[in-house]
Symmetry: C2
Subunit: 274 residues, 2 copies
Amino acid sequence: MTTSQLIQEIKRKKSFLCIGLDVDLNKIPKHLLEEEDPIFAFNKAIIDATHHLCVAYKPNTAFYEAYGLKGWKALEKTINYLNENHPEIFTIADAKRGDIGNTSTMYAKAFFEDLAFDSVTVAPYMGKDSVEPFLAFENKHTILLALTSNQGAFDFQTKTVDGKEVYKQVLETSKTWVNSENLMYVVGATKAEYLVDIRKIIPNSFLLVPGVGAQGGNLQDVCKYGMNDTVGLLINSSRGIIYASNDTDFAASAAQKSEELQKEMADILDASSF
Amino acid sequence: MTTSQLIQEIKRKKSFLCIGLDVDLNKIPKHLLEEEDPIFAFNKAIIDATHHLCVAYKPNTAFYEAYGLKGWKALEKTINYLNENHPEIFTIADAKRGDIGNTSTMYAKAFFEDLAFDSVTVAPYMGKDSVEPFLAFENKHTILLALTSNQGAFDFQTKTVDGKEVYKQVLETSKTWVNSENLMYVVGATKAEYLVDIRKIIPNSFLLVPGVGAQGGNLQDVCKYGMNDTVGLLINSSRGIIYASNDTDFAASAAQKSEELQKEMADILDASSF
């Protein structure tokens, strides 16, 4: 999917919501455990109930790998279901991968070809040659970790390197990489005030923003500091939506939570004349 | 496996060789492609031919994920084969994972419980709460990326933070984490001279050293600067061993290459009176 198709979809749906499909078998409604594939059954119900309210889905691969082969199978069924039924929706493999060149190419093939996601999250620690293999794929997007939403972000990301924080160094350096136009960035909502400085470095890039909701981030603040003239934001909510209820009404509850966020987003978009 | 069991095995085999099982279907002998599971058939042959010469095997997960479900299945068969037939061998899932707390726990379960590896490689960018969930598993080891063997290591890892390079900051900070005794570190062989400073910070930890062979690192230098009084090194070779031949003699050729390295290691160990 191209970035302009994503922007078009945001305007059409009046939404820049991304729903995180982080399926934990201990948290999903008990009745689903009787299904042949409870993980996929859960995802399908969530997707069917919410696809008109969001523009992206983001399965975090950890939740699938933890269940071994059946988890990987459920991930494959989920991305195939999305691509077949909702090709207009942007898909994110939240995998936080990154390795030396030829190995990163294998990861890129795994997520862009074998599983056919539109994008994958990548960790920057190993530098240029660990990220460029992902950037080489046309109309695919590499979402680089810049400033994450967790407390550990302050261990290294915000430390000052040559007068500049590590995450800013990551942003600036990444702009020099081949095919850097295929980059997006992870910026945690719990650090909304940082977005002012971030937008000075990457004014035009899309930001994937986790941490709204369960982790305490504020949607209004993120939009105030982070929105650009093509919106430029994908706001992720996982637990706040998919575990809104753990009873038979879980999908309807997820839709309701999604709609609350979508309406808030529509108001923000209207106020900004998008 | 405990660290002292690993040390015992190093002394018994006179080897601190780790063999990287990075299976690329384009590189393995053609006749194996007729097997039902070519990836596992290749790994099994390599393991059968080399297990007496090495103390660790390290499948890089990228090479398995790139083949989707059948790749993950081959990874599962490989770790099960190792655990059943060679429980004395240290196993490393080279996965370079890392995420926020509850998500890292899912990754730890994937590699320590579902796949039952002894260790997993983890990226440090997201800090303390992204790594501690791995450290919580008893007799399991978390191998933190410190200074990697690729060119991109110079993009961020060697940049100076408050008068100290990022990788040194990672080493020092990681020592303060809960259960830090379960940490080992990745340090690339292509930067052997850095080992002097690294050993000042982490004198007792095991180092996983990639980059000997194909990537140009030198075994003698690594040992000179990196060895400690319990050896403290696992030297990885992947392509140099497993692709020594791509004909029907591939396993014998892999054993020969392994033996060359093992003999060099035995000489070094003898000279150091281990």
